[in-house]
Symmetry: C2
Subunit: 695 residues, 2 copies
Amino acid sequence: MEQYASFLTLIGSVIALIFAGITAKRVLGYDCGTEKMKKISDSVKAGANAYLKRQYTVVAVFFVAMFVVLAVMSFTKLLSPFVPFAFVTGGFFSGLSGFVGMKIATAANARTANACQTSLNRGLRVAFSAGSVMGFTVVGLGLLDISIWLILLKYAFRLQEAEITAAMLTFGMGASSMALFARVGGGIFTKAADVGADLVGKVEAGIPEDDPRNPAVIADNVGDNVGDVAGMGADLYESYVGSVISSMALGVAAFKNMPLKAMSVPLLIAVSGILCSVIGTFLVHTKENATQKDLLKSLGRGTNFSAIMIAVISFPIVWFCLNGKESIGLYFAILSGLLAGVLIGRSTEYFTSDSYQPTKKLAAKSETGSATIIIGGLGLGMLSTALPILIVAACILIAFFISGGSKSTDLGLYGIALSAVGMLSTLGITLATDAYGPVADNAGGIAEMAGLDASVRERTDALDSLGNTTAATGKGFAIGSAALTALALMASYINKVREINPDAETVFNIMTPTVLVGLFIGTCLPFIFAALTMDSVGKAAQSIVVEVRRQFKEIAGLMDGKADADYASCVDLCTKSSLREMIMPTVVAIVAPILTGLVLGYQGVVGMLAGATASGFLMAIFMSNAGGAWDNAKKYIESGVHGGKGSDQHKAAVVGDTVGDPFKDTSGPAINILIKLLSMVSIVFAAVVVNFHLL
Amino acid sequence: MEQYASFLTLIGSVIALIFAGITAKRVLGYDCGTEKMKKISDSVKAGANAYLKRQYTVVAVFFVAMFVVLAVMSFTKLLSPFVPFAFVTGGFFSGLSGFVGMKIATAANARTANACQTSLNRGLRVAFSAGSVMGFTVVGLGLLDISIWLILLKYAFRLQEAEITAAMLTFGMGASSMALFARVGGGIFTKAADVGADLVGKVEAGIPEDDPRNPAVIADNVGDNVGDVAGMGADLYESYVGSVISSMALGVAAFKNMPLKAMSVPLLIAVSGILCSVIGTFLVHTKENATQKDLLKSLGRGTNFSAIMIAVISFPIVWFCLNGKESIGLYFAILSGLLAGVLIGRSTEYFTSDSYQPTKKLAAKSETGSATIIIGGLGLGMLSTALPILIVAACILIAFFISGGSKSTDLGLYGIALSAVGMLSTLGITLATDAYGPVADNAGGIAEMAGLDASVRERTDALDSLGNTTAATGKGFAIGSAALTALALMASYINKVREINPDAETVFNIMTPTVLVGLFIGTCLPFIFAALTMDSVGKAAQSIVVEVRRQFKEIAGLMDGKADADYASCVDLCTKSSLREMIMPTVVAIVAPILTGLVLGYQGVVGMLAGATASGFLMAIFMSNAGGAWDNAKKYIESGVHGGKGSDQHKAAVVGDTVGDPFKDTSGPAINILIKLLSMVSIVFAAVVVNFHLL
């Protein structure tokens, strides 16, 4: 079996890509609607295309520069010769995942709006199909990259397993860098446009969301596609690939006598996950006159089926690939990962959905103004970190000890890595339920701008709010797997250090000053990173505010609908500022581990990674949940409680939502990538740090 | 010399207390002003007295319960028999420090207002004298408690040095628990009243701050005294005592052949610090027609002189007590602590004073509304953690290695502990410059309510804003010393574990799952704690808002000044809610380390302490600086820029300030205590955890 794992992986990836292709064709077969809808959709498409083109140009410069650095390191024997190429392919496929996602999302928005003219179920089908295209493209490209390299290194270059995984780990750095650029750049774009549009349009001018008179409205819709879609695609590509390759590397370390078998386990789970997800998508259908509840049920049917299937299939994979009964603890590690993902998702839902007390209470705080709703949201976000941290803690302990970690640390760490693979194995379908949200959101915008019937907007809103609930689960998986993958990468880093210098001290005593100081610095990094990204959104949003105000003042007849707004100028402003602002946070993420290593040595680096993982996990949950709760509290008020739309309470809630925007869509998700990128950079530059350091 | 150290400490403490007494008498000799001023001051006094009486009653129940628990543990030989008594005295003296501070502050407020009728300099003298009473009471009581126990254990019970410091460490737990109650309870009271008064009075009714028509105005002034003064007193008593006893304990561990000498060093530095501070206060005087700049200069003269003096005196103390040239590295550790304190203070000032760019830029964000100023302040606060973390990192590394940590870890840890003692040695005078702020703030309130000339309010405002600048330095010392003391306590915990079980594994490998999970949980605790305290402020403030609105509506003629507001009901509401709300956070702080220990064992506890120290340090700085910057941005706008008072920009800034209130005066400072209390609780319950744990 394990002999064919790399080829099975290739086949699995091709199946995913073919399924994505067929689904895409089906989406493109739907009707676009009226001429006006097509025109709006085209301008969104053009803006998103133009942005991504310019983003990729900037990123290409970075990749060329890094390629040169890595090539020089390869020549001086500090790195394997495959690393520079692996780095570039990781980045390329990550970017491609985002690009494909954007393409299908911009193609599906008008089509979803049009389908919603018929029924809610039709709308769901189009939007969910678009989400599926993205989901399966991400997992397909991920496994394609992995299997090609695997086959190449094993059969063409005939490397040993340990050498193969060592080389492959480093292409994670390419994927992570690309993902960070995409998330940060896209995140700044979308939130600058959103905040800017809301602040002047909704708050000052008092016109509704997505009103065509608002000059920032197209930029806002472009933002959904380049941030929430393309950013998310690149991001989850990175998570997926990162979890698989780090567990491959730890498997090889844990099973030195049968490395190929240990390597095959995560691959076979990933391939099975694709098949389960494909079947799962066929379960997502419902009757024509379905209610929102029916839709939720049908989505749940798809994801739950896939999760249960993979839980069943993993058992024989572990049993037959490894030592039967003796290794079956690893199976339970996978199960604990799956369960932890579901539970974190539930906790996210509890804290951010307006069906539960926390968000309802938050909405009630609008009665005493914006200050109390802000304090309340910050408190809610911070408090909501407790459950996920306990869940992840339990998952780490269970995965480690049940896998046999008390006998062999390597085995325990392999178990932790596999639990992350378990969490992400059904990414194909969970991402589909996550990614269709922005499509529905965009469809709503187009319905509004094209002046469609109010019932259409209602339906797209229903889809959107449904997406918020399913996205909570997706977020749970993304954040939980990020923490576990980061730990797995930390372990891989230590193995790397041991490989470079067999005499290296691989006990990392927390009371050693270098480890401790590393820990302090690592704990600080997510704070700095969040600050930089929020500041960027603030700066970019302010420029949009100024521009929108200018247009309202200077374009005669705009407010009466007699003149058109200059949409392009807002798109251009967002593009420029987000590309400028995405540089600094990424540079921090790449330079920090190298500098820490050069001063404190690899002991300090491990401290830094541990600190960054712990505080990054917390900050990501805090920011995502606070933002989500503010968003839903606002929507809850709009549903008619606490004064409803237009009341003072609603205005207070809009302030909360605006603060929450960069929290949940820029800084929070980017921190997920940050903690993995830090480990990846540390691994790539390990040889430099081990050979040259101050303390 | 070291033979007399305990008696010298006693003498030093008596000198401090006598100086505090003389200064108090001088303050009470000043005139209270008009009958109306006396009446207002009396109601503030009555409210503060009533609150503290009830607070101490609640706290007494806790202390009795804990005493019983500790007594039972002593009987079962899990603790030394001195611990329950030491615990109680620590709590008693900490509470007494706060009580004395409150007494003098409530006596000085009207007197300061009256003195400001003459000149700014007079006002400063009264307020600064009141601050000095508090400063010297805190250090005097701290050293009194330490020296009495030292003399008792050494000469009456004839214990060995190691046993003495082990017993004394645990009275820190009493001081820390009391401090947490005082900070959290007082912090909730003061901010609930402040936020409540501002939200309805300033924002809704549009009446100025401290307007007598506002029913919450007396509660607001009471809050300044029970929160900013009594809370701060208990807090810094705990910091001071904690740093001295932890370095005594580590000194005994580092110098096993001359424990008494090593124990004497922190004591002699503390005593010298008192003398330097007393002399320093005499340098705080200026000419009668002094400007604000002159006052700042004169305050700076006092604190700088004391700091330089102590830097000089520490040299012979280290040289003669220990091994001359061989130990002189420890002197440089002390110096690095002093310098780090100053630098963190400077960084705080840079990020929060409106003389510098960050706060000016933050004020400019008010142009686009409250959402952008909130995002900006959060970003500023997070970004401002970078410098302090680097300063503390450098201080840890320098203190550890220069003290000889590469040869002996114990020696390095002793160096780190001494650097905290260095930071806090001149607490007498730095606390005076910190504590006079709330007195000036209160004086302003009285001036307003008593209808004094506008020039008086201007002068009290000048004193207040001067206080903000000097308080920045004080905060730098408090936060920096908290992190270093927490590390010293962690080291003491490990020594304790080693003492209980000599076979205990005292290497804490960050990759061990128990340590790692402990780290995750510890990193989370400050988030939970901040959430709970902010939530408490929010809840309490909302009840005040409702009450103030009710009075505005129901009391006829209140707005025209024809009827009196019912001040007492607001004071009562604040008292009740703050006492109710202070329980939960304190319980979390005490239960968390015990539970973590029972599940994860002492390895997990060390991970938890490291995580909590790192993230607590960051959260404390983030919250304090964000709050400080919002406060000063609002004041900056009130000075006439960005539209000035009453403009939309000002309203946006008030929202920022309101969010910042619980940040900087409740959650932020309480986290400082939290991180030390966690270690203290761990030390006291070490025997339980070492003997009974799950993993």
